[in-house]
């Protein structure tokens, strides 16, 4: 019995690893093909428009562009397997170092935004499902749709204008004020942790004031989706028979919602949250642009605009791994809350 269980766990782990490997492989092939097709010439990005033909050819050679792309790809893959993600042509730095700098920035932003949007989104969803069609539901519906329909760069700029430039309630673009920015050791890359550990008076508070706006703006966008889909899940569940039976047992509306409907909807909610989180981790390039946040989204976008293939592939790799891992976690969690799923 125990042996069979062990084998099953083993098989599951192997399966997960295989999925991860296959997904990543497929991601890399497609990304590489797309980047190779890109009309942007990375060599021109490097040498500029005025350089001599010799300099241009030299840059192409340095980038390995003079070889057929299957060779380039094979070379890249063998590099990755040895743990080397290559050198970014646009920053001149190893892609691994670049990612170690930009990913924590995105991780911090995304995680905080996720926590807030999960809390508010679920609350909105619950309130909306409490009396569907009622006034609260209507107000929440409009609010969440607004969060969902307002362009994030527009919201971000307005928020900066109001809370930073006029009311002086929050910090401006960037992760810290300049007084702290280049003096604090940034070993983890997470500004909250780094400032806390530094013990520099005011630094931690300063980090919070800089985080508030981008986090809220990102969250506003995610809240809409989470609230709508949670509400839908709850309403969907509330039409089921066990709800009728729960009422017939004498359960009050609150008990029906929290003790019966919610546990059933939580599998769906977990999926929604996991996917929202994965999307946030992709890096919100627009938010990062507006708030001068040196995160993964901007890194990838500038890499795309520079046809910086190693950087694009490296970024895609990180995001792919995040997605697969989060997806797995969501599956496991959904299984934990819903015994029907095997």
């Amino acid at each position: 019995m125990r042996a069979r269980y062990g084998r099953r766990v083993l098989r599951r782990v192997a399966g997960a690893a295989a999925t991860l490997a296959l997904t990543i492989a497929a991601l890399l092939v497609v990304t590489f093909a797309l980047s190779s097709l890109s009309p942007i010439d990375p060599a021109i990005r490097l040498v500029g428009d005025h350089a001599s033909a010799a300099s241009y050819q030299q840059a192409r050679r340095d980038l390995g562009l003079d070889r057929p792309w299957p060779v380039q790809f094979a070379r890249y893959v063998s590099q990755v397997l040895r743990g080397n993600l290559g050198t970014s042509s646009s920053t001149g730095q190893p892609v691994r170092d670049d990612l170690a700098k930009v990913f924590p920035a995105t991780l911090e932003l995304a995680t905080l935004a996720m926590l807030i949007s999960a809390a508010v989104g679920l609350a909105f969803g619950l309130l909306g499902a409490w009396r569907p069609g009622g006034l609260t539901d209507g107000v929440i519906r409009i609010l969440s749709l607004a969060g969902n329909s307002i362009p994030i760069f527009w919201l971000g700029l307005l928020a900066l204008y109001l809370f930073y430039a006029h009311l002086h309630w929050t910090g401006g673009p960037g992760r810290l004020d300049d007084a702290f920015e280049y003096t604090i050791d940034r070993s983890t890359g997470l500004v909250l942790i780094d400032t806390w550990r530094s013990g520099v008076p005011g630094a931690f508070v300063n980090a919070i004031t800089h985080l508030i706006l981008p986090v809220l703006v990102l969250a506003a966008n995610a809240i809409g989706n989470i609230a709508r889909l949670t509400r839908a899940a709850l309403l969907n569940e509330s039409a089921r028979e066990y709800v009728i039976l729960a009422r017939a047992k004498g359960a009050g509306e609150a008990r029906v919602l929290f003790a019966h409907i919610l546990p059933n909807a939580s599998g769906a909610a977990v999926t929604v949250l996991a996917l929202s989180y994965a999307r946030l981790l992709e890096g919100a390039v627009l938010t990062e642009t507006v708030f001068a946040w040196p995160g993964l989204g901007r890194y990838l976008t500038t890499a795309l605009f520079a046809a910086d293939v190693p950087a694009i592939l490296g970024g895609t790799l990180v995001i792919g791994v995040c997605f697969v891992v989060l997806n797995r976690c969501a599956d496991l969690l959904a299984r934990a809350v819903d015994p029907r799923i095997l």
Partner: protein, 293 residues
């Protein structure tokens, strides 16, 4: 078919539940549409069958009696009394206090009616927690006792199970135990056996009837199968298209005059036709959850 006057009823010795002119309608853009039309009957400490084809309004009637209908469905009644209490004027809290303790409801399919993500024991425990102030140990004892009474041989093990791990017959017994544990005066059973194998149906019905008799409760048994319920009930109410068209004592059924009753009586469902009725309740038909950017 309106040959039967609306007011027909047979009066039991002492009415537990008294219904007069119960109507159910759904609001539509141009006025309202009647689904159940002025139904009147009484139920005492007796076994009454409410029979009709699917769509006749019998299930809605049952739920209306328990106060379980929600917008856009609307219920109106000339009288709706349970043990002398006017149900029409009840606050939500009073309704909740009454459900599951004085009146109980059993649904068709335990696989859907029991909460799929909660263990059976917890669901049984809940109904005690809602209505009585008992210690956890007392509740456990009561639950076990009740489970044994409905023929669940291994209460402790059953309590640890999730609903999907139980067979239909066991599930139905669990539901029965859950609903009877607070000692209600009236049990409404909405097609309690139609999701079960034929061989189990009589078993469950017999159990239900014996429990009801033993506790001197009233039973309103809703079914589309007149033949079967006739064996267990004293009186039969026949509904057709939202109206109560016939009311009879069981022994008089063979001589029923109403054409619809006659059809129901003569069409004996059996093993051959089992499974041809599609599920009545809507399941899973709504939004599925999935997320994308």
């Amino acid at each position: 078919m309106d040959c039967v006057p609306q007011g027909i009823r047979a009066v039991p010795d002492r009415a537990l539940l008294s219904v007069r002119d119960l109507s159910i309608s759904v609001s539509a853009p141009h006025g309202e549409r009647l689904i159940v039309d002025r139904v009147s009957f009484d139920v005492g400490a007796e076994r009454v069958a409410l029979v009709g084809e699917s769509g006749s309004g019998k299930s809605l009637t049952a739920r209306a009696l328990m106060g379980l209908l929600r917008r856009p469905l609307k219920v109106s009644a000339g009288r709706l009394e349970f043990e002398g209490v006017d149900l029409r004027a009840l606050t939500p809290a009073r309704w909740a206090a009454m459900r599951g303790s004085s009146m109980a409801l059993i649904l068709q399919d335990p696989r859907h009616a029991l909460n799929p993500v909660l263990r059976v024991g917890r669901q049984m425990d809940e109904v005690l927690r809602i209505h009585q102030k008992l210690s956890a140990a007392e509740r456990r004892d009561r639950t076990e006792e009740m489970m044994l009474a409905v023929g669940l041989a291994e209460p402790a093990r059953t309590a640890r199970a999730f609903p999907h791990e139980l067979s239909g017959g066991l599930g139905q017994r669990v539901m029965l135990a859950m609903m009877l544990v607070n000692g209600p005066r009236l049990l409404i059973a909405d097609e309690p056996t139609s999701s079960l194998d034929e061989s189990l149906r009589d078993q469950v019905l017999e159990l239900m009837v014996s429990l009801v008799e033993h506790r001197r409760m009233g039973l309103l048994l809703i079914s589309h199968d007149l033949q079967q319920v006739a064996r267990y009930c004293e009186r039969v109410l026949v509904m057709y298209r939202g109206r109560l068209v016939d009311v009879r004592r069981t022994q008089d059924l063979a001589g029923a005059e109403h054409p619809y009753t006659r059809i129901l009586w003569s069409c004996r469902p059996g093993g051959r036709t089992y499974g041809t009725e599609l599920p009545v309740l809507v399941r899973d038909a709504d939004e599925r959850l999935d997320m994308a950017p």
